[in-house]
Point group: C2
Chain length 698, copies 2
């Protein structure tokens, strides 16, 4: 085993073996060697090929084992079938890390997945750490080590810079460089992480957190692996003052993971991933270009959530687009308070005030602009400042940029939208540390990201609840969907008030215990096989007296048997009929990527139809639960809407916390739990759970 | 009056007077003259200034009246106060059109509005047509006549091209040129329309429709004036095969026009404007850059609505972003059917099939790409084709563009997203007539626009309804909010079934007529002063018998009097209590910009909370009404959701048509009409209006 650290072996290797090397121009097997030299790699390069003597004039070895030197990093482009053997040889040669460019592994089906297993096994046994397979390589700009065949390296130079990049997509590493450099941005280190078979995004992220040359980390993600390590890395990055900015695919995914409950259907993985990012202080951009436009808005600043921005403009149309785009993101453009505006104008400032602060033709000069920008940055009425620059950005870049020169260090975020095509101004602003935007929508997306950025959410203090007792109850559940009575017991133990009810094994037992529940009453079938009881005809409402109950129970039995003759029927649940001001859905789901989540939605079919839910990583605090209540649009009526009566939001928040506490059971078998509906009564009267569902793993 | 046509005077004037001319470098008064010469204007230029002898060496006249030649076009930059007098002189000199650059007219407050009135009056009296005031000027590229001081004219050349532009924002005319030319686009004619005091967007649009050099019309709009003329122009443009593409500000406008009904609050002007655009075959882009990226997707093609696109890619990450962005716009990416894919691969095509069709490294060559693009264009399973081009777009533009060269005329829309920064490829594609996209979101926005583009909606045939009788009823209404009984009469006459009901002047009359309505019953206060009856305590539900009715009527009277002691009370409305599967809101509103509209929304507070409404220009056909029903998410339950019973959608569609027919009353006094709720009963059982509201103008 080598003594080189993983970070050094990855990014500053003293020597690189190119296994599968070739000097046929333009193929992937040959380009890495060309690009390493072109971009100034100072270490040793050892081509490896079974039959060649030299590659591009450099001595070639038949195997990595034949190289008479310590190899710090192997870059592998051989056919997939031989990669495991190549890795074994790397192990024998004490190579600490290998980057596997070759594809046709797990991404390509079962056979590839098997080969990837073999690859991982070989790497583990040989003590070789792996980047990839199916990746584009690893780039360091300072000192230069471009261990990648990406044709973007045809660019004459590679900017040094402070942005670190990790990407699931290999080709996009080239796009980062191409688009970044076109804006004057530079990168510290870039890693194409490929299939993430060994070294994860989280592990490279940890290295970037420790890298003094990296000040922000940009991620292009297709999925999340190792969620816990990822979260830990993100929290450490936050603590180190290095924002993590993510573009993640999968927002449109129609096919949500199949689940028995509504919670799964309405809070699919992408919403859970959003919650995960926010929970860990990670910023997710909406537009791809925001990856490039956002960093300078965040660097050197702390999260400071806000809802208002002041927009200063040399052009009404350009400024109007920014104000409009901000408004669609929920951010208000605010002008200068009238008295302050008059005072400034008396002191000689030239502008026309309003939601858009217009410099007018006479005010468009660097001195007036700089003065106003400084005033706006000092103004408590806004949370950020945007300057919209018209034609001067194109034809007079120095003048356009001058007003910003001392503002890069402002505590408050400041950026510039350049209305014409103005690459030179864009670069000058970037060099000055000012975020520059090419489109009004990108500007608004970046300010949304910046003003909704929040620190990682601390794990809330444990509530005083009986974890052992609950675990015992949970362990007693059968695998699969628990019946309603079992679910009642669990929710009751968590501390969620349950409707008055009794379970009866059959109709006559039901009639006998009706008095203890009380009329009017609801009767429901008890069956582990029927998730949607209403659809199955398994529910009767508004049962007024014992005669009606007898009729109802036999009708239910008949309908349910017709609906699913094979369903196991465990009798009936009788419940007191309750009324609330609103019905909500309160759910818990262990997401396959990000772990336990809690979901609040408007009741009935609304949460599904409108996707109107709030989701958080569980467990949550009461404060977070209140945030969730505020986020669900359909709960507006019980938050105080027109003259409608308010619901008991305190009790609702407590119920959210209680359900989220399922996450405290550690290796709990519960994969999903859902109360639907939970009735919210008027202020001071509490909440009551009417129906519940719990799904357990084996 | 001159015999020059307005089009010629605007765009190909033989002579231009620059009134307010100067040769002080860099000011607006001087630049137009410089730019006219620079960009090759071949006509005569006459500077006008009261005291100068020459301007830039050209003889200067004290007044336009002193010019010894017919002046076709005057460009005015004098101070605002003297502009009316200047226009009078233009009239005396028979100048057919004047473009007024000067600002401080209606856009700047009451005094400016007064001055603008004076200006319009002077122009009318003198027979002078006006562009502006407060505008940037008029640009023609062929033959060149850049009658504008915009600093974008510092560009060395101005591309000729086929795009016409009309913009409310003056500065954005420069942005069109700047951003358009950076993409290799060219313009035919550009007009900064300013305050639109005389010549409207519609009138310039008509000229562009007739202009053989203009093939598409781009609009940057802040508002809509002369809605009827605008609609007529758009329909003529459509008939001429010239798409109209609009970016309109105002999508975020929080402050909606105040109205007494919900219809106004939930279907604000921007939604009405959307409906207006679709109604007239106009395409509205969401992103600013789509203005530049969309035209080549539309030119030479007819609208063909669709929901699917095939995406061919050289890069998984870039292709994934496009597929994801399309999905968010409701467009599915579709692969090649399996059998077809196998057949193609057997014939030597190289690709990996799936929702993203991946060329793979080996398939990335012009021949294979061109073959696949042709196959995809011929494939009935998609409605459009997108090629995602990776690094070759940056480093091998000719190869990247080659596969497209014969595809510009394809019937099916085709475009290319260039993943890296690739300006040269972008220009080559543009030159070849292929739409090129810089961002995945822009690509998706453009395809959404293209695939939702529809021909203008024909005015539906008149239903057989008694327009004269209705007009008489409407004329009998008082000004303001009509009481519920009057509203019932109007809706009944339109053909919307009304709940069984009777109006009673007081409580004892109510008790006397209760039997004719039937129990259970609802009682409501009748008052023209109370729009929201429930809030005022003016409603009692579920009244079971005459005793309960007596109690209810006195309770209502007491509560309403407490709520608004000054309200005029006209007695009570008694209604049979009805039940439906769903409640909907059905409204009619005469929008101040686009005229009569009809609105359908989910009932209760939902349409307001979720903004879940469908809106169309009225009157509508039954087919359009069915489209509206399909658009309202909250109506999913009655469209057939899980096993829930379907509502009577035919009857609902008829009710929508009936309410929309209010638009057929011509100069109707009704500004708003709303049924809320309209109950939708099960299939075959119809709909019934329970409550209604009508607002009339004087």
């Amino acid at each position: 085993m080598s003594e080189t650290s993983l970070a050094d072996a990855l990014f500053t290797p003293r020597s690189i073996a190119l296994i599968g090397a070739s000097d046929k121009p333009g193929v992937n097997n040959s380009r890495t060697q060309v690009y390493l030299e072109k971009h100034g790699y100072q270490g040793k390069v050892y081509p490896v090929h079974p039959t060649r003597d030299t590659v591009y004039g450099v001595k070639c070895y038949p195997s990595v084992k034949d190289i008479p030197d310590q190899v710090d990093h192997a870059f592998i482009t051989t056919p997939a079938a031989v990669v495991p053997q190549v890795i074994r040889e790397c192990g024998e040669a004490n190579v600490p890390v290998a980057t596997v460019f070759t594809s046709d592994f797990a991404e390509s089906g079962d056979e590839g997945a098997r080969l990837q297993e073999e690859l991982i096994d070989a790497a583990k046994k040989g003590g070789v750490r792996l980047i990839g397979p199916n990746c584009m390589g690893v780039y360091n700009t300072d000192p230069p080590a471009t261990i990648a065949p990406n044709s973007v390296l045809q660019l004459p130079t590679l900017n040094k810079g402070n942005l670190g990049v990790i990407s699931h997509s290999g080709s996009l590493t080239g796009t980062f460089i191409s688009r970044g450099q076109a804006r004057g941005l530079g990168f510290s280190k870039i890693v194409s992480i490929g299939n993430e078979s060994d070294i994860s995004v989280a592990e490279v992220g940890e290295i970037l957190v420790d890298d003094p040359k990296t000040e922000a980390i940009l991620l292009f993600l297709e999925t999340i692996r190792s969620g816990d390590a990822f979260a830990a890395m993100a929290r450490r990055a936050y603590a180190a003052g290095k924002p993590i900015i993510v573009y993640k695919l999968g927002r449109s995914e129609a096919a949500q993971q199949f689940t028995a409950s509504h919670t799964g259907a309405i809070a699919g993985t992408d919403a859970a991933i959003d919650a995960f990012f926010r929970h860990n202080g990670i910023i997710r951009v909406d537009l791809f270009e925001t990856l490039f436009e956002l960093p300078l808005l965040l660097l050197g600043r702390k999260p400071k959530p806000g809802k208002t921005v002041s927009v200063l403009s040399t052009t009404g149309g350009g400024g109007g687009m920014v104000v409009d785009s901000l408004g669609r993101q929920g951010i208000d453009a605010v002008g200068i308070p009238d008295a302050k505006a008059r005072a400034l104008q008396e002191q000689g400032a030239v502008f026309s005030n309003g939601p858009l602060i217009d410099l007018t033709f006479n005010g468009t000069n660097p001195k007036n602009t700089a003065m106003l920008l400084n005033e706006l940055l000092a103004m408590p009425e806004n949370d950020g400042v945007i300057m919209v620059v018209g034609s001067s950005a194109q034809f007079n870049p120095e003048n356009a940029v001058k007003p910003f020169l001392d503002l890069a260090k402002s505590e408050k975020p400041i950026g510039a939208f350049l209305v014409p095509t103005a690459e030179e101004s864009n670069q000058l602003l970037t060099d000055a540390g000012i975020a520059a935007f090419r489109t009004p929508e990108g500007c608004a997306d970046a300010f949304r990201c910046c003003l909704s950025w929040q620190p990682p959410v601390p794990v809330p203090h444990a509530a005083a609840f009986d974890a052992d007792g609950l675990t015992a109850l949970v362990n007693a559940l059968p695998t699969g969907t628990a019946d309603e009575e079992s679910a009642r017991t669990i929710f009751d133990a968590l501390g969620v008030p349950q409707v008055a009810a009794a379970a009866a094994a059959d109709a006559s037992a039901g009639l006998a215990m009706a008095e203890s529940v009380g009329f009017p009453m609801v009767a429901k079938i008890l069956s582990p096989d029927i998730a949607h009881k209403t659809e199955a005809g398994g529910v009767e409402l508004n049962i007024a007296d014992p005669d009606a109950l007898a009729t109802a129970l036999s009708a239910i039995q008949e309908r349910v048997t017709g609906y699913d003759p094979s369903a196991t029927l465990n009798g009936f649940l009788l419940q007191r009929m309750e009324r609330g001001l609103a019905e909500v859905l309160l759910g818990y789901r262990v997401d396959s990527l990000v772990g336990p989540t809690v979901v609040l939605g408007a009741g009935g079919v609304l949460s599904e139809i409108y996707g109107d839910v709030a989701i958080r990583i569980a467990p949550v605090s009461v404060e977070t639960a209140r945030e969730m209540i505020d986020e669900v649009d359909g709960l507006a009526p019980i938050r105080g809407y027109r003259s409608m009566p308010k619901g008991d939001l305190d009790a609702l928040a407590e119920a959210i916390v209680a359900v989220s506490n399922l996450a405290r059971l550690g290796g709990s078998r519960i994969s999903e739990a859902e109360i639907n509906p939970l009735l919210v009564k008027p202020e001071g009267e509490g909440v009551v759970a009417v129906d519940g569902l719990i799904v357990t793993d084996a």
